[in-house]
Subunit: 477 residues, 2 copies
Amino acid sequence: MANEKMVKAITSMEEDFAKWYTDVCIKAELVDYSSVKGCMIIRPYGYAIWENIQRIMDDHFKQTGHENVYMPMFIPESLLQKEKDHVEGFAPEVAWVTHGGDEKLEERLCVRPTSETLFCDHFKNIVHSYRDLPKLYNQWCSVVRWEKTTRPFLRSREFLWQEGHTLHATAEEAKLETEQMLNVYAKVAEEYFAMPVVKGQKTEKERFAGAEATYTIEALMHDGKALQSGTSHYFGDGFSRAFDVCYTDKDNKPVHPFQTSWGTTTRLIGAVIMTHGDDNGLVLPPAIAPIQVVVVPIASHKPGVNEKAEEIYETLKKVSRVKLDNSDQSPGWKFAEYEMKGVPLRIEIGPRDIENGCCVVVRRDNREKIVVALSELETKIPELLKAVRDGLYEKALERRANMTYDVKTLDEMKKNADEKPGFIRAMWCGDRECEDKLKEICGVTSRCIPFEQDKISDTCVCCGKKADKMLYWGKAY
Amino acid sequence: MANEKMVKAITSMEEDFAKWYTDVCIKAELVDYSSVKGCMIIRPYGYAIWENIQRIMDDHFKQTGHENVYMPMFIPESLLQKEKDHVEGFAPEVAWVTHGGDEKLEERLCVRPTSETLFCDHFKNIVHSYRDLPKLYNQWCSVVRWEKTTRPFLRSREFLWQEGHTLHATAEEAKLETEQMLNVYAKVAEEYFAMPVVKGQKTEKERFAGAEATYTIEALMHDGKALQSGTSHYFGDGFSRAFDVCYTDKDNKPVHPFQTSWGTTTRLIGAVIMTHGDDNGLVLPPAIAPIQVVVVPIASHKPGVNEKAEEIYETLKKVSRVKLDNSDQSPGWKFAEYEMKGVPLRIEIGPRDIENGCCVVVRRDNREKIVVALSELETKIPELLKAVRDGLYEKALERRANMTYDVKTLDEMKKNADEKPGFIRAMWCGDRECEDKLKEICGVTSRCIPFEQDKISDTCVCCGKKADKMLYWGKAY
């Protein structure tokens, strides 16, 4: 059967998770490798997922009052250097443009790895009075970071993202913005991608270069590795001082405004693959699936089958992104193909179904087969799409619970890190030294200090001193 | 009156058209200058126009079966060099990346000036059989060309665009695609931007580097200069031979497929500014206006005025992109502000209007004031938006007719080029020498060989030899 042949075409998760992942990326036609080392080609099916993610995110940004802008893709070296911590963090991994045509440039330009410096430079021009605040901006673009080892979506030299940059009159307002956008990310991840996330703050070590505080949503992949899926930063007035951004407040006094930035990337596609995928390929949450329902006629040479399939297609177009596949491939081939592509629902319609006035709907997430009366299809399909989302979320939540471990001692931590993939929850005293030691001994990094704290013990998992912070630790992408 | 103060804040067209243009770009808050020489910042109002253009274009691309993809922003030097004419055309104006972090790259990468080479490299991987064709791809991205002199939207070192790239089994099909996409561009320009265009073919001299044929839509700006507003190229199998793209046809024979590309850029925003703008600022065609209707309460301290304005806003939200400005600025200030920003319709609502159950609608394009019953607003506003589009189109068409001149001799051509800004229509023998000479003597370039031909005389305007092609000539942006 074509179905089985197709299934065997990808490596199983158990056999080699990394290979499974790249197999899915290639076989589901999400990406192709390019001649540009470390850069990927996003193919139509992969890009359509990104377009859906963009639309959902962008709606949320606009609902919260943000406006889109476009900044140059280059940053002059002198501009990058204005904020000390920032340049230290990014300079080692930027791509440098040194020539325009045949001429050597007077000053090198880097291709933006992130655009705080450009936004500050612009804010300096346009913000003068308290009346000019807040500025709530977002940008959709590509950025470049010269990574050594790369993988599709997860880490590539160029990737697509959105970067929000906002400027506020007060520290309090900026902090609320940082928090608001983290909540938007968490909501989108959970509701639309059916992907449970832990919300929390990064330790100083893991903070964004130049930020006073970095918040994150962390998801747990199938293989037990953590994936940072979105970050939101509070900058205080550090950048606005460095860039001399200043406004006159209501009392006519000069004040440096307070700043945030927040970003998510095409990495989210990687997160979705590794959260929901299985050995048959991709499994897409309906909200971002380019095709939500595929209609497959069975025994389509029989009279009336193609016509009925067409009718179903026309009906479902009103309530979903539906595709009718009446090509001359076999049903088995089609089943495997759309399973590989993670289409949430498949509708099979054959002569006997037509006689009975019904069709068979097959869920991608749990393979459940549901007989649905044709007359009820238009109301039933949206319900089933919702059920798929809920099913995916529950399954991911359960897996995360089964892969999250509380530990109290360094020995336990080491044993867990070595033997049980997943999140490790443990207390921490707050010392960088302990954080470094855990990385060295156990190979884990601190993922975040979650907003929802539990008390696992009174002492630091590493040094044994008094500790009141519970952290998530893990191996991470 | 604040209105007048504002109006005087921009240079008049007559005084200095170039200055008028940049004044509009800055005062309407479309762009800001950046610290990156030759690159612009697209501000929220400018970017919102671009988002509307994107949505309209993208819908048309999808309706004609195209899919979006994303290619790397870099092109290795060796890849750029594979097609001889192409590299000759673009190499002198690309930006070169030579270093990643501290390391010198083994091979220089240019930032894409256009992506034919990348698409071909990908096509080679994914096209093997006639079943894989056609490939109908489009990409939204930014590109870089190292221009010497730059102006917002019209010519900048980085700009945003879309580039379509398609691959077909036959030359005929590829030619039809080239033509189809030129027609899409012309339709969008005329229907949505209210901008009349001349459709035609470029001469060999003006062709895209590497193309067998280039088609163009040419618009005429307020100052009589031509603006190339979109191009569509037919490549034959030149690129696919150079990149070794090959498919097996139905008879199992290897064939090089045939290729097209087509593009439009943020330059379209410049075209709209210079087609419809006036001495009060921007005038936007409704289809791409971020705000189509602005509601301005008059004497808003009087009871009921703000409430009624709010009511109108709520009603019009259903049928238009409407903004209610109930800020504490004076009505005069608001009138000037939204005129500068080119908002197609302004609604004034004051106590007397409310008594009469009506409001005053003012058209931006011709300043006509129309009294509309509040009960009819919801049906009337869409009609008026349509009327603004039609009015703008008619006006632009009439101006173009008044600025288009037919000439038969070199003397006439020279006199026209020197004294009368506009399109010049004249016969041409087809010799590159005559084309060069007209540029040298009259300062004009060939804009296109229009599809709609008229016979102006029997002889070439330059050499006097027999000629059967009528061309549009002009000074161009």
